[in-house]
Symmetry: C2
């Protein structure tokens, strides 16, 4: 190797590196109804490329996590109906790491199953991070650095979340309130969590942002398997026992039999309610601030801010050459991808035009939250094929 | 036949009857650019069913005129490129009555050619009525009655127009101002025309409607062939001579040869400027008021008032079952006709959504007049396939 090809000494911040003893789980559920008609029950949000990056949100999540965990330690939980789509999207996903739920039993069962499988394989000190399949993050290196700090804190027995430093007084997210610094080697930014709070109104959100103690709850949790399942056993012993029993059979011939026998009896509860809130109240949760760009892409309005061209005029998801806007700024258009098919928007500010083969949506960013109502209305008309 | 099946005695007003010695010509030209993307250069407005009646505007025009003239006396002038579409739409149209223009030379040449052919066949006393191919009329019986009065007046040597009694102060139409009654047997409603006036501004239109002397100029002319060609010969002798020379060859073997030799040299002028305005100024034009519903369907805004459902909420051209509107009244949607394809409009008042296979238009009724600008913009991008 010549000097010209020498790599820099040390690990540059911009290149995420493997975190030893760390695994991740990606729960891929939820229909993303407010992103209808692109997102459907059969082809939910995480299977779509919503930013024009050339990768679906699920694939981008994989791309972000795999360097940190390696493929052997990257797990995915989803419904059986999405198995083929997920396998096609993620060819490097290990078959034993694809946890297929017989039915949706909310996030605690999904993440808890991954924790139990990991505990069974690697022991109670293995650290697991849980990250949604359908969020957008704009800086993988900063994300990786935050995860590394969170893992360091998790090794001290904390439940750790990554809280996003707000860029504005958003009312569409829940918040995490910090109380003071923690002193953990390798995690200089970590803080104690005082509480998780629900989505605020606009005035409260403005107070949160001004105060500086609140961060967006991005639903990211990092915790050792032993600590997680220990908390779960305290709160919901039957759920913890059931998950451990399934996990014990997971890598053997009885997997499906045990899963089908026990899964239907597991309690349906979100990890926020089962673990995050009660443990935070008891002083057992820490937060590592995330300063990278993050969005849960909850609706078309939020997508409009993420697409190229947003702000200047037309934000287009698809081929910009097929879209024409006159007297219409702040427009988001998702093209059908049908070759040659064009979309023209004339004099409709903040229009949202989503063109899919069987369903065309025309609305405005202001009404983005009400798209769910359309889905319900079509269902009422017996058009389950559309939803 | 039993009494229960007996037909009423006499001709009820509602059944239009043949008018002896009367022929009609339908000039079918114009791209209807403001009704883009439904109306295109290759499939202009008159070939579309814009009211959901199950018949194109051209076919509806035929249906209205044929009972008055018979198929032998119903002529159509259009461009050669539309010949096949017109033949398919009007199977009863006589081949000799399909006057195909080698190029567009405006309405005087088109109507004048029909007048010259009719004069050659039936003599100078034959009365010809000219009616656009792409207007909407809601009462065929009232229309027929007005035409019958106009024919009676035309037999006295007048150029006769049918002027529509305004239902409001429209600024999108020209007007005809009447000066006083005429005394013609069989035409009790006929009036002398003082002048034709251009499209007014809103204040002027309101004065016109309040005054009661102004009617909409619907571009309908009824006049004997001898009178029409006589006026034309006075104003533009070369045009009149050229048309008569083509007409003399029309029903013989030299038609195409003579047409191709003379047509390119004919002057391009609208019948309004060539005949209606100068003859009105000289006191030679009469008007029969038309009290039927009429519209030239100039743009999507005007179509919105004609469709079923207009006013209450959704006005849909197509299958209403495929369209859903929430928080959006006064919306006009033209569906693609693709089976199962749906359109949802949420929170966009007065939206106009026109869904065609290669071009989707989203605008509002307020911007209907600006649709032409989109057509130009696509042409500037080299997308002649769309226009």
């Amino acid at each position: 190797m010549t000097a010209a090809h020498a790599t820099p000494v040390g690990n540059p911040v911009s290149a995420p590196v493997r975190i030893e003893g760390f695994a991740a789980v990606v729960p891929a559920g939820g229909a993303g109804t407010r992103l209808w008609p692109l997102s459907r029950a059969r082809a939910p949000k995480f299977l779509h490329d919503l930013t024009g990056a050339g990768r679906s949100l699920l694939q981008a999540t994989w791309d972000r996590l795999e360097p940190l965990t390696g493929a052997d330690h990257l797990l995915l939980v989803t419904g059986r109906s999405h198995a083929d789509a997920v396998r096609a999207a993620l060819p490097d996903l290990r078959e034993g790491n694809l946890l297929l739920e017989p039915s949706a039993r909310d996030s605690m069962a999904a993440i808890g199953l991954a924790a139990a499988v990991l505990e069974h394989r690697d022991g109670p000190d293995a650290v697991l991070g849980s990250f949604a399949a359908d969020h957008v993050i704009d800086d993988a290196a900063a994300f990786g650095a935050a995860v590394a700090q969170a893992v360091a804190v998790a090794r001290t027995g904390e439940v750790v979340t990554i809280g996003i430093t707000p860029t504005g007084p958003a009312t569409g997210f829940g918040y995490v309130r910090a109380s003071g610094p923690l002193d953990v080697p390798g995690a200089p930014d970590a803080l104690r969590v005082a509480e998780f709070v629900e989505k605020p109104d606009a005035a409260t959100a403005a107070e949160y942002v001004a105060g500086g103690q609140h961060r967006w709850n991005a639903g990211m949790f990092v915790v050792s398997t032993g600590v997680l399942l220990g908390h779960l056993h305290e709160q919901l012993p039957a759920l913890a026992d059931g998950l451990r029993e399934i996990a014990a059979a997971w890598d053997g011939p009885e997997r499906e039999k045990v899963l089908d026998a026990l899964w239907p009896g597991l309690v349906k509860i979100a990890i926020d309610h089962a673990i995050a809130e009660p443990v935070a109240a008891a002083g057992g949760v820490a937060v590592v601030p995330g300063t990278f760009g993050w969005d849960d892409v909850g609706d078309w309005d939020s997508l409009a801010t993420l697409l190229p061209g947003a702000g200047e005029g037309l934000a287009v998801l698809g081929d910009e050459a097929q879209v024409l806007g006159l007297a219409a700024t702040g427009v988001v258009v998702a093209g059908s991808g049908v070759p040659g098919r064009t979309v023209s928007v004339l004099g409709v500010p903040d229009a949202v035009v989503i063109d899919t083969p069987d369903a065309l949506l025309v609305t405005t960013r202001e009404h983005a939250q009400s798209v769910k109502g359309l889905v319900g209305a079509w269902r009422d008309r017996g058009r389950d094929d559309l939803v």
